[in-house]
Subunit: 444 residues, 2 copies
């Protein structure tokens, strides 16, 4: 009976589970960098070369020797002779000598001699045209080699620049051999881009752990069957599979086991042998939940670590580690199962993946529309709908604050969860949250 | 030159783009519900039957006629005769008559006559044992049919229940023919679960729009090539492809086009004919950006709507609609390209998918560790790292507040972005954010 359980607080329960799992590196595989989105790195990535590999301009302007601009200003401009235009994508092929400068575009390579760039806005061309003939061998060079020589134009410089100004030095982004991405990092678009910049076309990533899912209950049938009176379709195998995919795991379903201890033991044993972790959703009756506990206990040591968590929904949660693998018993109610899986299954998968902790889970701040009571001493998760209709923060005038409207009705209905945008946590030491308070809405 | 552009504010620019796109339903396809995670519904989903389909108990206890418990209390308990146990997964097969009750488990079907359930905690069995012979035909029935008749046991009821208490009525979750999920809804684990509960095994979802990506610039080479002096590897084709996947689109890359207007026009025309929208990342020089504008203008009307957005990074952004399709010109710098794609490409894809607006993008609240100056009148996005080391909210004692530490160094380096956890927006009317202020960190 749940009331005789010693209830753990959620965070304490989670830490108990995670601490009991073996440490060590996840199994890894090599995949194309372009396909690595949302995967977790299984080894450090080092830069084979510096970035950038040559000194580049960060603006459009004129490459100069900084000392040639010292002392100049808008009122007292300086004048430099234009030596040529730096073509994109190739070595300039000429140097900037004292008293001269070169037209350069953003991303262009600084000619020898130049050590800074004056932005084009701070310059003016006085006479002549750019001496195309001086820019050698560039792919973009369209110079007519037969033009008559014209006097080299002068560029008026209206602002002094310091050495290195508007310039990216070699290795300023990353140095050669630097660890640019660490083991355990989530691969996002920026990481894929960074690897491509370095020519790293493949990555070692953690293999997605296979998470077994067992549904149980005499009343549960497959969704493709037509329920007779008293029967309900299996929801948990599918909603949990989706959650596992989102968390980076690979779900493997083991079907529906009736409320029979020996059958449950047999299926659970097969699952734990084939998977990195196993989730069992109990039938909804107390006897079915007790059976789950007993079946889990048969799988190996240390066995059940937590039976009963001080949270609503989800009190009858079971957390176990059997022979080094996590086994989690979830409540049969689909809403409880999903909420509890978010609290325990997701961090467990993240640990299996070697994802760096802490991994912040994002949320939305919103203003609660009505009082929500809660029993002190218990953590509550309430379902809310977000409504976008209030401006609130005077400083950030164009930022909108959402309203969070608690979902009415019984909270254990799957379409109540579907109607919700997220969950709001009411901590154990609160007796509720008042209307008007700003709450964190964890998106589901 | 960017400084001669009339710069739009980001939100204004986005609305200009979205309003110029045609309205209407996205193309749809039918897929398995189990595979529909993160897809967008292309038509309303109706319930073929009510949920639940029979009156169910929400607790373990005794099914009763509520009026038989009226007036009872712990001090003045009532007594009911136990008629049997409701088996799970089948019709009880017997009725609860006046003065009697039935043992029932969570999820069990209420016997005829019963209209409420007394929780087991509020009852006590006085004598005898459950008359198994009275529970008919249940899959879980293990009764020995040859036991001698024993006097039916009495159950002491210590608490009155109202009609419907601890009971889910037929259709209390959803009524038959009710629209349970609306067109434009994102399919999450809860939606997959809800559909399975109703036996809805397939869904109509929006086809992922194909988004063409063109990289340009004479200095840009493929990541599998070894750059010569002045050359850089293509980053944007890959980082943007990853971002497009995350947003629900299907990227299609068109390679790298040199700074040649006719070639760019030809590739862009092919891309707009083959894709639902096209993204062009300009080479980083001003002339390359001007070429992008001209190539986009050649693709159809109304053409370029916005050239230049008042945001850093990303000022030289181009937003266009050509013959009903969005064409977005992004800055060539990989950091600017990703930040701007988050502001414009992601909402554009969401519109193509028919995703319901508003779609809240989640974030993390964090305390800024140092002053960040910003130019008034311009929206700035700064990269920050989250550090998990401060408790802040007294009421939510166990909630942790992250610190947001701005990333030092030049912000246009791809590994600065990779080192960041997220972006903080500094609105145009602010001149910066002070150390200690709470900011919203949009995760990248």
């Amino acid at each position: 009976m749940p009331e005789f359980l010693r209830l753990s607080h959620t965070n304490e329960a989670l830490q108990t589970l995670l601490r009991a799992l073996p440490e060590g590196n996840p199994s890894a595989e090599t995949i194309e960098t372009a396909d690595a989105l949302d995967r977790i790195l299984a080894e450090d990535v080092r830069a084979p070369n510096p970035l950038p590999e040559f000194t580049r301009s960060t603006v459009d302007g004129y490459a100069v020797r900084a000392r040639d601009t010292f002392g100049v200003s808008e009122l007292l401009p300086g004048y430099l002779t234009l030596s040529g235009e730096v073509p994109m994508g190739t070595h300039p092929g000429f140097a900037v000598t004292p008293g001269s400068c070169a037209l350069i575009h953003t991303g262009g390579m600084l000619p020898d001699g130049a050590d800074a760039v004056v932005m084009i806005e701070n310059t003016q061309m006085i006479s002549g045209e750019v001496p195309h003939g001086r820019s050698q061998g560039g792919a973009g060079t369209t110079a007519d080699e037969h033009t008559d020589p014209v006097p080299a134009p002068k560029i008026e410089i209206g602002r002094a620049v310091a050495e290195g100004e508007n310039v990216l030095r070699i290795g300023e982004d990353v140095a050669a051999d630097q660890v640019v991405l660490k083991t355990g990092k989530l691969v996002r678009p920026a990481e894929i881009g960074g690897c491509m910049a370095l020519g790293i076309l493949q990555l070692r990533v953690a293999i997605k752990p296979i998470i077994g899912i067992i549904s149980s209950g005499d009343e549960v049938i497959s969704p493709n069957e037509c329920p007779r009176m008293g029967q309900v379709r299996d929801v948990n195998s599918y909603s949990l599979a989706a959650l596992i995919k989102k968390a980076g795991g690979k779900p493997k379903t083991y079907g529906i086991v009736p409320d029979n201890l020996e059958m449950m033991k047999a299926v659970a044993l097969r699952a734990i042998n084939e998977c990195a972790a196993v989730i069992i959703t109990a039938g909804s009756s107390a006897s079915s939940r007790d059976m789950t506990d007993e079946a889990i206990s048969s799988l190996g040591l240390p066995g059940v670590l937590v039976h009963g968590v001080n949270v609503r929904p989800g009190k009858p949660t079971i957390l176990a580690v059997c022979n080094g693998k996590a086994v989690i018993g979830l409540p049969g109610n689909p809403v409880s199962a999903l909420v509890i899986a978010g609290l325990f299954v997701v961090p467990m998968i993240e640990k299996l993946l070697g994802l760096n902790i802490p991994h912040p889970h994002p949320y939305i701040m919103a203003r609660l529309t009505m009082n929500v009571p809660s029993q002190a001493g218990r953590e509550d998760w309430i379902t809310v709908k977000l409504i976008d209709n209030e401006k609130w923060d005077k400083r950030n005038k164009d930022k909108t604050c959402f309203l969070a409207e608690p979902i009415f009705g019984k909270s254990n209905l799957i379409f109540s969860l579907s109607a919700a945008d997220g969950l709001v946590r009411i901590p154990p030491d609160a007796t509720g949250v008042s209307a008007g308070e700003i709450v964190e809405v964890v998106l589901i």
